[in-house]
Symmetry: none
Subunit: 252 residues, 2 copies
Amino acid sequence: MESLTAGQFALVYNAFSFGIATFGAATLFFWFGRSQVSHHYKTAMTITGLVTFIAFYHYWRIFSSWGETYEVANGVVTATGIEFNRAYRYVDWLLTVPLLLIELILVMRLSQAETVSRSLKLGGAAALMILLGYPGEVSAGIDSTRLLFGALSMIPFLYIVYSLYSSLGEAIARQHESVRSLIRLARNLTVVAWFFYPVVYFLPFVIRMNGGTAIAVIEVGYTIADITAKAVFGLVIFAIAVRKSEVEGLKA
Amino acid sequence: MESLTAGQFALVYNAFSFGIATFGAATLFFWFGRSQVSHHYKTAMTITGLVTFIAFYHYWRIFSSWGETYEVANGVVTATGIEFNRAYRYVDWLLTVPLLLIELILVMRLSQAETVSRSLKLGGAAALMILLGYPGEVSAGIDSTRLLFGALSMIPFLYIVYSLYSSLGEAIARQHESVRSLIRLARNLTVVAWFFYPVVYFLPFVIRMNGGTAIAVIEVGYTIADITAKAVFGLVIFAIAVRKSEVEGLKA
């Protein structure tokens, strides 16, 4: 493995610590927010906080694993032989990615039947997408395995993106006008942030990935994508829940 | 002991970490859910969260024990000589399995006398089942002990399954129609998930169990069975409690 510079090591280290702080703070913000929304949106806020809580836990683990992978002394970084556990990200996504889609569905307050059916379809597709990505990610160096599972994983990914714009797009159009553009923003944010993940997944086919620069870009990039898809997305969900609680309260 | 591949070690490691995150998140979800159900169902939600909280604690211990059992350096897994503590699972089940049955009984909101009597019978049988399984599990290599205690443990197991379909089945038939199928789902989920445990228990009589593949299948399988029996089951209990709170609220 090509070695990292001390600056690259520290950048990733600090990005992970930033992730821990951001997700911990976001979790508390969302759970305090439960008391500010009507009872229809409490489950959405609980889950929004759970997503960042689960990410908080995994960034803690990732941060520890990163610290065990390298030793830094007198400005020189050497690998310890312990492997950096990239798979924590997959464990995280397996739980959080379905929940993120369920957050969006819950805050729309569709009928019970529609909520259950959309949650199962989109949540199930999301879990399948992550499960299919895992064997490719851990097959270090075996290009054909990575390519095969990456391609399989893209099928549920594209199904989700398609659903978010086709049938869910129609459901969004039926939402109250005061929140319609916020819900579209939440949906677009998800899709834009999510496109970072397949790009990184397929990057090894384009450039050598064991260089220090590549590692730093990927780990910092993942951290930014995770924060966007979970914490920033959660803020939009909170704003929607607050706005809808107000509008519906006035009607009642 | 036949050694594990790095991929098998990592799969089990990640499955245990997944367990920690899932049970931690589920616990908070259930305890937040207490505020969303009527006071009749708050104890059921407290216990639903306690079950996943106890599992969260034990998966933390199991994860640590697994990490101490093997050393991974440069892609090679070697046993450290420290034994993996399988018995944590029994300690967990001794507490959680009776509580799972009590959850189901509480959410049915039977008469006080029936609640107490069913909880004592089913909870007692569940505790007995686990206590009888333990000597067999720790008698590593002594087949006759494993077989004897396994067979004894099956008696309360079959009693529980029988009760869930006979006398509890009749009690389910008296539940409000809006929740009847959900309660049946909870009961069936329990029975289906629970059948995984005796299968694994008796597996050493069929195949050699110290191979890496067998270990990985069993540990990942236990994790999936535990998540189904505790977290997914708990979600169904929550759904029942919410539905019954709504229905009974309208009547009152």
